[in-house]
């Protein structure tokens, strides 16, 4: 059974082999469901020239905002990069390339990448800047854009619970991009809140089967910063 034990005990081990110029997917929607410790470790490693695929780019000083501070990202692929002043600066100065991608297309590119589908047609973005330079096709009277899929050298995801075999369960809307990214990384590292023994997770409720996950690490601590704290009046 040890061949299926994916647990690593340090962040160094979790990111072994992570290098400059790699493509890396990072789960999360805003700051919700991000692998905080893994992001921190990449920051510590100081790798540069990264192509980062993530819906957002964190905020100043937190999440992927930390990678921006160290100028670690050369290309950012995401759908919404607001809430970050440094991002704006790097974008305007040309220090970083940004490929804005509609959120659903981004999710599907990653899903397709993990599922071995090289590209797909979608109506999203037809007739807009997003479709410029891309193949289009009319299918049954409607126009579609051909969107290539995405994979990555590393996928860094955040899950709620894992067993030692890498089966994952996410919590509420902290799921977001994490399950697809888990399928699309050559090496997928899951940072989780709790690791249990095989058999303790009900197979009926596994979100991500362990076959997609190469390494599991129990996070040191999760700040889980809230961007828009809203409560009932």
């Amino acid at each position: 059974m040890s061949g299926f034990n994916k647990v690593v005990n340090s962040y160094e081990e979790a990111l072994e082999g992570f290098k400059d110029d790699m493509t890396v997917m990072v789960g999360g929607f805003g700051l919700c469901g991000i692998p905080e410790g893994l992001i921190e470790q990449v920051n510590k490693l100081g790798c540069k020239g990264l192509t980062a695929i993530s819906n957002n780019a964190g905020v100043d000083g937190f999440g992927l905002g930390k990678w921006l501070e160290k100028r670690q990202i050369s290309t950012m692929i995401g759908s919404y990069v607001g809430e970050n002043e440094l991002f704006e600066k790097l974008l305007l100065s040309g220090e970083m390339e940004v490929i804005l991608t509609p959120q659903g297309t981004l999710a599907e590119k990653i899903r397709a990448g993990g599922a071995g589908i090289p590209a797909f047609f979608t109506a999203t973005g037809f007739g807009t800047k997003v479709a410029e330079g891309k193949e289009t096709r009319n299918i049954d009277g409607r126009d579609y854009v051909l969107e290539p899929s995405l994979t990555a050298d590393f996928a860094l995801v955040k899950a709620w619970k894992a067993d030692t075999m890498g089966n994952l369960i996410f919590n509420k809307t902290a799921m977001n991009f994490n399950p697809m990214m888990a399928t699309a990384g050559k090496i997928t590292v899951a940072e989780v809140e709790e690791i249990v023994e095989p058999g303790e997770l009900d197979p009926n409720y596994i979100h991500t089967p362990g076959i997609y996950v190469q390494r599991v690490i129990k996070g040191n601590s999760f700040e889980k910063r809230i961007e828009q704290r809203t409560v009932k009046a």
Binding site: F29, G30, L31, C32, G33, N55, G78, S79, Y80, V81, G82, E88, L91, L100, P102, Q103, G104, T105, L106, A107, E108, I110, R111, T122, A123, T124, G125, F126, G127, T128, K129, V130, W160, F170, N171, K172, T173, A174, M175, N176, F177, N178, P179, M180, H207, K224, R225, I226, E227, Q228, R229, T230, V231, K232, A233
Partner: protein, 218 residues
């Protein structure tokens, strides 16, 4: 009188039908949730992976793992479901959401919408807006009729980069409810006390005006 933001939301809410799954954008669309008619049950879809968005939490029930697409802390309504972003946009792109309400900078008489990018200003990204307008059959755009300098945003042709082409059929502004068909805006209702002349004056696109334009009931 031109409608307030709340009144625009109230008018949109009259379009909600019992059993509708609804996606509400940020801004005025969000307010629509406050005016769901009595006896009408709707489920709110939030594209970050929640179907059945509930009200805001209390300080005691706040959960950083439970937010909406505006990154606000929310709760899950009874019967809610969580899912991945891919699943969420399968619902949207696949046309399973009954009504989408979103804002815009400009719309034009071909049903084009511009809502995500102003050249020369910081581009924050389109988020899920392009998927929403491409996927939904039933979209209501809420927006102001003209900018603060009086320049119309209801146009013959959008001037800003598009979010979607030929996908918008209904627009509600502080002045009017309009339908877009056959390459023109058709005036359906006007805000209480607002004259057809004022609407015409603030509309750059071709406006088809029927003999009788009833006032909205808000």
């Amino acid at each position: 009188m031109a409608l307030s933001r709340e009144q625009i939301a109230m008018r949109v809410a009259q379009e909600l039908e019992d059993g509708f799954y609804v996606n509400l954008g940020i801004g005025i669309p969000t307010l629509v949730a406050n005016y769901v008619p009595k006896g009408v049950e709707v489920m709110m879809q939030s594209e970050n992976g929640l179907l059945g968005m509930g009200e805001f939490p209390t300080e005691e029930t706040i959960d950083p793992d439970l937010i909406n697409a505006g990154k606000q802390t929310v709760t899950a309504a009874t019967g809610a479901a969580f899912f991945s972003s891919a699943e969420s946009f399968a619902m949207i792109r696949g046309g399973h959401v009954d009504l989408t309400v979103l804002g815009a900078f400009e719309v034009d008489q071909q049903g084009n919408i511009a809502s995500w990018m102003i050249p020369g200003k910081l581009v924050k990204g389109m988020g899920g807006a392009m998927d929403l307008v491409a996927g939904a059959e039933n979209i209501i755009v809420t927006m102001t009729h003209a900018n603060k300098h009086g320049k119309s945003k209801i146009l013959k042709e959008c001037t800003l980069p598009l979010t979607g082409a030929q996908c918008i059929k209904h627009v509600i502004t502080e002045l009017a409810l309009m339908e877009i068909k056959d390459g023109a805006f058709h005036l359906i209702e006007r805000a209480p006390g607002v004259s057809v002349e004022e609407i015409q004056e603030k509309t750059d696109g071709d406006l088809v005006i029927p003999d009788n334009v009833p006032e909205m009931k808000v």
